[in-house]
Structure formats: structure tokens, C-alpha cells
Symmetry: C2
Subunit: 193 residues, 2 copies
DNA sequence: AAAATGGATTGATCTGGATCAAGACTTTTA
DNA sequence: TAAAAGTCTTGATCCAGATCAATCCATTTT
């Protein structure tokens, strides 16, 4: 259950066997069926979760009722609404499973205790957050500076795994374009080759 | 020189006098004139800087030669290209001063040593990065989900200070719209009132 | 195995915001 | 203090991508 979890953590900080045992105590396992919600808009986000298996997405719904995907999380990724998780305020996001998923969950209390008890986890999260900032910044630049086609090509480049596993209409939402536009872009690109 | 600096840090983690003295040793002061570069595209970002006074911006230039502003940083904010800073790779950003500025700079070596020597600074940056993720996520949602007018209104809401100090053409670039569009939006909004 | 649901494609049309152009006003620079 | 550069506004036109609509398959569900 914790295999992938510690593999990922030990890539960034090296935990002793004792630290691993300590860390384990803060997490609870959870299974989620396809289409099942982990979080619905209006609820506070009570858990930060690590994805052991499956794929989750987070999205918000705009004033016209259109869904906009904020993130995907597949094996080895974290998911949650950090703002709501930390503040306790109601979340503006929905999180659900795109594929059946197995998760490890931690509460805010657990998270804060863990930071104190296992300082190496504080380091792990500092590094994780650094990387998260970098990838959000890349995405923001894509979104502000590039055309729909360029955005798609950057995604192909940076996250080919996503395109293998996620339906194109969801990929389009993630890129901030319509499924029709994405379909036309892909057609154009295959013809070009 | 370090007044604002420690005020900000102590809002998140409380440093003892001894810790403050230790932290100081990792930073060097720097003044920047308006329009002067802190970083130019192609160079590695050697310093993370804290703004004691003035305003900086970071921006990239797209294939058509158009500038896109990634961030502003005024008093009490940090600035740098975190990706380039951490990896040592050449940066794709430019950073320059919009107003004369006074900065405190730290190198990557300094940063990493400081994390070890003053663990409370590791905590400070973990929290800083958390908040940074939250604000980037907000901005990403703005950018993907909202119209130009809604983006502007959200900025008025979340960062009124920015609009006081920064020319509108730069605000437009930050919002990912043209100065003409921003001008028309503002006209429409004042008429509406 | 029939019906319902979800995903992808293609065509026709529409539109928010970009682009191009010009003028007014203000701040720098020489 | 004159000229140049930067900032903001307004008007006319254009276009990338959205919207609306229909069809085709592939999976689920019953």
C-alpha cells in the first residue's frame, strides 16, 4: 500500500525505517470508484491525498455552468485544494475519480504534527511545493502566452502520460479550450506529418 | 535594511535574535535603478531576492516578440525564477525594476545552507511556497475560466495595491489582454457606475 | 441484444478580444 | 524648453477559437 508512496518520498529526502513507520501513522487509506467524489464544491477540503493508483481530477464550474479542470493526479501525485485544506474555508473545487483509485489521506492536524515530528517531511513538502510552483508557472505562461495549438504541443511535450490515459474532452478542458478546437488541432497536426 | 524583511518572516515563523543574526549572513543588499535588469533571458537566475523597496516585474517574450508579465513584486514580496534558481538552467524570463528598488539577495548555496542551519527558515519557505501555490492557482483559474472583464475585476478585488502603482499597459500584460481591451473595460465599468 | 450514455469528429456560423492606426496628454531626456 | 519617449484612449477592422448542431462509434447499463 505504501510502496509507491515511500519510493516517491525517498527520491527527494531519505527517510529512515523509523521515520517511515512514524509517517505511516498519519495516513489513512481510501478507495474511490470512477466518478465518485472526493470533494464537492462548498465543503472544506479535509484531506490532502497521495494517489497510489488511478487518476483524479479537480475542477471548478464557472457562472455559465462550464467545468474547468484545474489538475489531474495520477499514480505518485498529490491532490487536494491546498487553500481550503490549510484555511478550512469551503472549497470552490470538485475532486472526483476519472478511474478507480486508491489513495492515502492525511488531515491538516496530521499534516502539521507530521511536520514537527518528522522534520524531513517538512523538507519533502518544501521541495514538493517548489516543484509545484514551477509547473504551475509553466502552465500559466502557456495559458497567457500561447495559442491553442502551442498549448497542446507543450502538453504533449511535458506530460505525454496524461494524453494516454485521459479522454480528450477532459484534456481540452485542462488546456482551457473546447473539445472541438482540440479535435481540429489534432487533425491538422496528423495531416501535417 | 532588514526591517521589513524580518517583519515579514516573523509573521510566519518566529525567529530568535540569534537566528536573525544567522539569517542575515546569507543575504547581500542590492540597489536597482528603474529599468535596470536583475536577470536577462538566457542567464541562470543566481539570486532569489526579497524586495525591501520599489517594484520589480518578471516577464517572458513570446515568438512574436510580445512581452508577457509573469509577476510583480513590491515591498515584502520575493522575486526570482525559481526553476532556474534551483536547477541552474538558463532562465526564460527577464526581471527588471519598474521603480528604483532595494533588494536582499541570496544564492542557491546560501539558501540551502540556511535551510540546514536555521530549520525555521525551511518552515518559512514551505509556508511561503504554499501561499504562492494558492495565488498561482487563483490566477490560473482566472486565466482559464474568466472573461477579460472578470479577470480585471478579480485583480481589483485581490490586489488593489498593484493598480495604484503599476501602469495600465503592464497590468494588461499581466492579465493576458491588450492595453486597448483593458482601457475599454475600464471605460465601460466607470460608465456603468 | 436493445437502449442509453459518453467520447470524438466535422461543418456552419458567430463573437470577444486582437490588431492596426491615430491622436492627446504626460513625463523624460538632451 | 524643445524633442523624444511613454502612457492612455478611441475607432475601424479582423480572426482564432467558441458555439451550435449533427453524426458516428464504443462502452455501459438494463
Amino acid at each position: 500500500m505504501f510502496d509507491l508512496f515511500f519510493t516517491h518520498i525517498n527520491q527527494k529526502v531519505n527517510l529512515s525505517e523509523a521515520e517511515q513507520q512514524e509517517v505511516k501513522t498519519f495516513f489513512a487509506p481510501k478507495k474511490l470508484r470512477k466518478r465518485q467524489y472526493l470533494l464537492q464544491e462548498g465543503e472544506p477540503c479535509k484531506y490532502l491525498v497521495f494517489v497510489e493508483k488511478g487518476v483524479l481530477r479537480s475542477y471548478n464550474v464557472d457562472s455559465k455552468g462550464v467545468e474547468h479542470i484545474i489538475h489531474f493526479a495520477m499514480e505518485g501525485w498529490w491532490m487536494g485544494d491546498i487553500y481550503s485544506f490549510l484555511s478550512g474555508d469551503p472549497s470552490g473545487y470538485n475532486i472526483d475519480a476519472i478511474e478507480d483509485a486508491e489513495l492515502l489521506m492525511i488531515t491538516l492536524d496530521g499534516f502539521e504534527q507530521m511536520m514537527v515530528k518528522v522534520p524531513r517531511m517538512e523538507r519533502y513538502f518544501r521541495i514538493l511545493f517548489q516543484n509545484n510552483i514551477i509547473s504551475k508557472e509553466r502552465r500559466l505562461i502557456s495559458s497567457i502566452s500561447y495559442t491553442a495549438e502551442e498549448k497542446y504541443l507543450r502538453l504533449v511535450e511535458s506530460s505525454p502520460e496524461l494524453l494516454q490515459r485521459i479522454p480528450l474532452n477532459l484534456v481540452a478542458s485542462y488546456l482551457g479550450i473546447t473539445p472541438e478546437t482540440l479535435s481540429r488541432i489534432r487533425k491538422k497536426l496528423t495531416q501535417k506529418k
